[in-house]
């Protein structure tokens, strides 16, 4: 069992290990194993296709948290040039669970804000597993202000289990920090494009997720509460997370049906972590066309459409 992969990925990983082994044998000897390798590669591709064609919402939730999944800094690296990280909230601290800065995207200046998880234990401790404290949201707010003043579109990358539930975070006003960002983003006079790249964890995600356009990678999730949290509250049993994931409808596909998101960005076969370059190119294509659309509007039209978009959320009935 390879700990870097999910249980339903194990047959794929085993098969790939076998292919690598054959390659090694081939290079050591004069046997020609090409045919066998090609056969196994085709088999592996079919296997991935069959596993990924029928993923449950719970499996998708696990993919969204995959330890090898590309994070904000990976996208920054592949999609932007001249990125400069800007740090600190000017009040208390710099929160490494949120990365922010300015850069060039396809030749144009932009501001970037994203959650950042760590790749290993040490980095995860520094980045608090991508769970921001109020400082993180206040740093994001600072960058939004800069973006508005210097007419930079804001691109956000959402990937967090949620805002950090800690004593200090509460003392320093976690609720207030999130609330202020929601209002500011609703009124910010520059385009805001939000992309869910992994976990969209509740208010902690929304605090950098209000804008003109919301897209989600096909194996990312977005939810009002984690499936585990929902299960322990409503089912009074955290092991019912699988049922909760289904009931909450947290996947891109379902949220698109419910018209809560604007676009699904396709991930390559087997998920974003199997082909980071293709994933980034798909994200690039989405951002390029959305930016073109929103930067060509007047700011007044942009803000009116955003207000319309945000205030139409909701499904209810009306009595006579």
């Amino acid at each position: 069992m390879n700990p870097d992969y999910l249980d339903f990925e194990q047959p794929i990983v085993d098969l790939e290990a076998k292919i690598d082994e054959l390659r090694l044998v081939e290079s050591d000897n004069e046997f020609n194993l090409n045919e066998e390798i090609t056969r196994l590669q085709a088999k592996s591709k079919n296997l991935i296709a069959s596993i990924f064609s029928s993923l449950s919402p719970w499996q998708i939730a696990q993919l969204a948290r995959h330890p090898k999944r590309p994070y904000t800094l990976d996208y920054i690296d592949k999609l932007f040039t001249n990125f400069t990280e800007l740090r600190g909230d000017r009040m208390y601290a710099d929160d490494a669970a949120i990365v922010a800065g300015i850069a060039k995207f396809e030749g144009a200046s932009v501001a970037i804000i994203g959650h950042q998880k760590g790749r290993n234990t040490k980095e995860n401790i520094r980045r608090n597993f991508g769970m921001p404290r109020p400082e993180g949201y206040r740093k994001a707010l600072r960058i939004m202000d800069i973006a508005e003043r210097f007419k930079l579109p804001v691109l956000t990358f959402i990937d967090t289990p949620g805002a950090y539930p800690g004593i200090g975070a509460e003392e320093r006003g976690q609720s207030q920090a999130i609330a202020v960002n929601l209002e500011r983003m609703a009124c910010l006079r520059t385009p805001i494009l939000c992309t869910v790249i992994g976990e969209g964890g509740s208010g902690g995600a929304l605090a950098i997720g209000v804008g003109d356009y919301l897209s989600m990678l096909s194996y990312s999730t977005y939810s009002v509460i984690s499936p585990e949290g929902c299960a322990s509250i409503l089912w009074k049993d955290a092991s019912k997370a699988e049922d909760a994931a289904t009931a909450l409808g947290i996947t891109a596909l379902r949220l698109n049906e419910l018209k809560l998101i604007d676009e699904i960005i396709e991930e390559p076969l087997g998920g974003a972590h199997r082909d980071i370059d293709t994933t980034c190119e798909n994200v690039r294509a989405t951002l390029v066309s959305a930016l073109e659309k929103f930067t060509s509007q007047s700011l007044d039209d942009l803000l009116a459409a955003r207000y319309q978009r945000l205030t139409q959320f909701g499904t209810y009935g009306e009595s006579a």
Binding site: P165, E170, G173, C187, A244, L248
Partner: protein, 289 residues
């Protein structure tokens, strides 16, 4: 079990937990000091314990009746009804939870909005109903809040909201999360137009409601000892595995940490809010008030 209870046939024996309960109707018991209080006295005292000053939770309708002038009053958005659009089912169906909540509270949803007057000053007032699925914010709450803000904007009158809520309505999933963005967008408009929004936090104000409309007041008030926060104390304790500080997430704690402007007792709420609004709106304050 006493010897007398042992003698009694089980049919007429009252359960151990019941015997300490006060009979329904005439009497209430203070959850804080345990004093047994005559219900009509308690009501006259605005559901505040006369012995220990504990502010009990009250219904949205009672709240606004205490707060607003008797007339004129006009309810806003009462025609909006919740819908189980996801066919959400945990161990109960959302549909059943809704009808039970409607039956228990006599309200169609967890937010009540009334356009009225506060000592002759025209205002829009909103109050959450905690007994309605924990005062949670779903589509109807969001839409009613939007209507309240729109009314305040078009009449150019202040909006006051009394929050008491566990947070977002899980059974409406992501749609409920987006009510946070919706209500915040509405308040953004109010800020741009300089229409005052006074947020009053009452016990408890947590999660998605606290992290949106409740923390966006021009002025933020809390009732004494209300539980206010983003994450619940239990979740925090499980995460940090430390003992929580004394009075953690209570109004007094928040005031000390700079999250509130003031703590106001229920009996002074009308006077205090009226005075604040009169100053903000350059109104004269007559000596009698």
């Amino acid at each position: 079990m006493s010897w007398l209870e042992k003698l009694m046939p089980s049919r007429i024996r009252t359960e151990g937990t019941n015997k300490r309960k006060v009979p329904k109707g005439l009497w209430d018991k203070c959850a804080s000091c345990g004093a047994v209080l005559y219900r009509s006295d308690l009501e006259r005292n605005l559901q505040v314990c006369p012995k220990c000053n504990h502010h009990m939770r009250i219904t949205a309708r009672m709240r606004l009746q205490f707060f607003l002038d008797e007339s004129p009053q006009e309810e806003i958005g009462q025609y909006l009804e919740p819908k189980d659009f996801l066919k959400f089912k945990d161990d109960k169906k959302y549909k059943d939870r809704l009808s039970a909540a409607q039956k228990n509270t006599g309200e169609k949803e967890a937010l009540l909005v009334i356009k009225g007057q506060l000592k002759k000053l025209p205002i829009v007032a909103a109050a959450f109903e905690f007994r309605f699925i924990g005062g949670s914010m779903g589509s109807v709450v969001g839409e009613r809040f939007l209507l309240a803000a729109k009314q305040a904007l078009s009449d150019e009158i202040p909006l006051i909201c009394f929050s008491t809520s566990g947070g977002a309505r899980m059974q409406e999933a992501l749609t409920s999360l987006f009510q946070m963005a919706k209500t915040s967008a509405a308040l953004g408009r109010m800020r741009e137009q300089s229409i005052p929004f006074i947020s009053v936090l009452t016990d408890p104000t947590m999660g998605g409601v606290s992290a949106s409309l409740a923390m966006l007041g021009d002025i933020t008030i809390a009732e004494p000892k209300a539980l206010i926060g983003f994450a619940g104390p239990r979740v925090i304790q499980q995460t940090v595995r430390e003992t929580l500080p004394k009075g953690f997430q209570r109004s007094e704690f928040l005031l000390e940490h700079g999250a509130l402007d003031m703590i106001v007792e229920r009996k002074n709420m009308r006077d205090e809010v009226h005075q604040l609004l009169s100053v903000l709106l350059h109104q004269e304050i007559s000596a009698g008030e």
